[in-house]
């Protein structure tokens, strides 16, 4: 998927590097060096997503975000910050950010998060009780999952993990994203907890001899084939 991205970042070296890397993922990237430029850019053309640095000259990131949201701009915004304190994270999310990541962030990670956010926007709200990806069906309300019509017996965390994969089918989910979303932690465990759980999930999904639906994206994370 190719996106039209606005990157708001005052650090020129970092901005150019990140822009070039994101272009490498086939995205179109516009760089704005401060809050005012960012607001002007948003007014002049439609973007699929905004990557917004928190600390900016003139108008800071939080204010830019608040102005976007008060102007009914619902486009996905990932807030980028050198500050990693939990209170600041909460502030950013409360101001309307869809995601909050701490600098520096690898381009693959940022790319995965951008794609996941943009795809999540395409979901149609609550048409059914179940969500589906390929032959996997998950019922988030009943905590049940099936593959090719056969119920799969999953632990609580395995279920949450599968649910996240199905909801984001065909989107790469990085380990950090999974830790945040499935485990609900704002810290990164140093062990391979995600890998261990994915392996267990794979074993259960392929117990009946089906093909492994989870793809390992080397150096990035995992993706469920839809």
């Amino acid at each position: 998927m190719s996106l039209n991205i606005l990157l708001v970042e005052d650090d020129g070296v970092f901005a150019q590097g990140m822009a070039e890397e994101l272009r490498g993922f086939d995205h179109t990237v516009t760089v704005a060096a401060d809050g005012r430029e960012a607001l002007a850019a948003v007014d002049s053309q439609p973007f699929d997503a905004v990557v917004l640095d928190r600390m900016l000259p003139r108008i800071d990131g939080i204010s830019v975000l608040e102005r976007l949201r008060s102007g009914n701009m619902t486009l996905p915004v990932i807030m980028l910050s050198a500050l990693g304190r939990s209170v600041e994270k909460v502030e950013g999310l409360e101001a309307g950010a869809d995601d909050y990541v701490v600098k520096p962030i690898a381009a693959v990670e940022l790319n995965a998060r951008l794609l996941a956010l943009v795809r999540a926007r395409g979901w149609t709200a609550g048409s059914a009780d179940t969500i589906r990806a390929g032959d996997i069906v998950v019922s988030p309300t009943r905590f049940r999952a099936w593959r090719a019509g056969t119920a799969i017996d999953l632990g609580k965390l395995e279920f949450k993990l599968l649910n996240e994969f199905v909801a984001n089918a065909d989107t790469v989910l990085t380990r950090a994203m999974l830790v945040e979303r499935v485990w609900g932690y704002d810290f990164a465990p140093t062990t391979n907890i995600v890998d261990v759980y994915v392996r267990h999930l794979r074993v259960k999904l392929t117990a009946d001899g089906g093909e492994d639906p989870i793809l390992t994206v080397r150096g990035v994370g995992y993706m469920l084939r839809g």
């Binding site: 650090d11 070296v13 970092f14 590097g17 990140m18 070039e20 890397e21 490498g24 050198a82 500050l83 990693g84 304190r85 939990s86 209170v87 701490v102 600098k103 520096p104 690898a106 381009a107 632990g155 965390l157 485990w183 609900g184 932690y185 704002d186 810290f187 990164a188 465990p189 140093t190 062990t191 391979n192 907890i193 261990v196 759980y197 392996r199 267990h200």
Partner: protein, 445 residues
């Protein structure tokens, strides 16, 4: 008993004061009494000599005449006389004696029932012919002087004692209140509230001056701490930006790299910069926890339930590493704390257990509680930490073997310690013989 606490000092002082006061009172009382007795004895001896001196007529008639004359005289009018014959019959005098007094001096009491006398001295002497002459004088300036004197003593010494006790109490209360205020301030500071200060009264006295000096010291400490924490935060923070650039430059170079070998080299360089960034993230995380801001979000929770949840979550990871994880909860252990941080603490403790032990090790988590503290004990059967290195293990970057190139940045245990401190708990590393036992205590709700 060591005279160290304010209470024992006060009690000791009061006891000494009481002993000295009572001693003084008793000494004054007995010296006065003996002096009066001696004076009275001298007086009745003199009167006796005047009436029945060794010279002159000692016939009963003459003695009675002299007694009557003395009774009438102003200066001897208060003296009692009694002249008895050999059989004990009264021959003359102005008093009656219910009992026979021995020869020589003796003391009289109210119970001797001599009219108009409650305390006195008597002198009994043989005056020849089997007769005895008793001379009696009061030792009190007025009747019921004894109770009156006790009253005076009680009022006098009682008020002195009262003043001393009151003064002492005010003193003790003032001092202990000042000490209490200082201690509460110190406790608050230890708990991370660097804004607390000792209240200063406006008297300008020693206490106020001491409080001002103490507060100035705290101001200075808090300035220093703020600048240290700013410096380390600034370092961690400011270095992140160039590191982020470095990382992004490396990532860019990797994209442009032409050979697989170059890509591998650059991957290694990127991994190194990621390690550095993780270290800074851990430092900033510790600084954030030590700031104490997260205490505002404390809520009550059951440590056993949280541990159970984390153990269940970590079970596959531990099993995957070839080790075992067992859990035992003796009590629900209700505490007040930050669920996420305590969860991180448990995860880190288990991860430590995996990282620093050989395959086949058992990691045991126990939760218990007493009336005052909840305990969390993590024991492993691994190699443990030698006693002399346990303090080092809790220190930042205090990696036990600097040459060892395993994962981890030496901030794991310090981070756990920061979380424990935030919860006003304690952490101790012990020898599980063999293995390491980490004992965490947290105050119960």
């Amino acid at each position: 008993m060591r005279l160290r606490s304010l209470r024992t000092l006060t009690l000791a002082f009061l006891l000494a004061f009481l002993v000295v006061t009572l001693g003084t009172g008793f000494a004054i009382y007995s010296v006065t009494l003996r002096t009066i007795e001696r004076l009275v004895d001298r007086r009745i001896q003199a009167v006796f000599d005047e009436i029945a001196g060794a010279f002159g007529d000692r016939s009963p008639e003459e003695l009675v005449r002299r007694i009557n004359a003395a009774t009438r005289q102003r200066d001897t009018g208060d003296i009692g006389f009694l002249l008895l014959d050999a059989e004990g019959h009264a021959l003359g005098g102005n008093i009656r004696m219910p009992r026979r007094l021995p020869l020589g001096f003796s003391t009289l009491h109210g119970r001797d029932r001599i009219i108009g006398l409650s305390a006195g001295r008597a002198l009994v002497r043989d005056v020849g012919g089997g007769m005895t002459l008793t001379t009696v004088a009061e030792t009190e300036p007025f009747d019921d002087y004894g109770p009156a004197r006790i009253g005076i003593y009680l009022i006098g010494f009682g008020s002195i004692l009262l003043i001393v006790v009151c003064g002492l109490s005010v003193f003790v209360v003032t001092i202990s209140r000042r000490i209490g205020e200082t201690r509460r301030t110190v406790d608050a500071i230890i708990d991370g509230d660097m804004t607390r200060r000792v209240p200063v009264d406006r008297s300008g006295g020693e206490f106020a001056q001491q409080a001002i000096a103490f507060n100035r010291m705290l101001d200075r400490i808090s300035d220093l701490m703020a600048s240290i924490s700013n410096v380390s935060n600034d370092i961690a923070h400011d270095l992140r930006t160039p590191l982020a650039r470095l990382r992004s430059q490396l990532a860019l170079s990797r994209r442009r790299a032409e050979s697989e070998a170059q890509r591998d080299d650059l991957d290694a360089a990127i991994a190194m910069s990621d390690e550095l960034l993780e270290m800074f993230a851990a430092m900033l995380r510790i600084a954030e926890i030590e700031g104490g801001d997260r205490r505002a979000a404390f809520a009550s929770l059951h440590l056993a339930a949280l541990a159970d949840e984390i153990v269940t979550m970590m079970q596959p990871v531990v099993a995957d590493s070839g080790r075992t994880l067992v859990f035992d909860a003796a009590a629900p252990a209700e505490i007040v704390g930050d669920r996420h941080l305590l969860g991180q603490m448990l995860v880190n403790l288990i991860e430590n257990g995996i990282r620093h032990t050989p395959v086949g090790t058992q990691i045991a988590i126990q939760v218990g509680a007493t009336a005052a503290v909840a305990t969390l004990i993590v024991t492993d059967t691994g190699p443990g930490i030698p006693a002399d290195q346990r303090t080092l293990a809790l220190r930042r970057f205090g990696r036990l073997d600097a040459s060892r190139h395993d994962e981890g940045h030496g901030l794991g245990l310090p981070l756990i310690q920061a979380i424990v401190r935030l919860h006003r708990g304690t952490i101790a590393l012990e020898d599980a013989a063999p293995g390491l036992r980490v004992v965490v205590t947290l105050p119960v709700r």
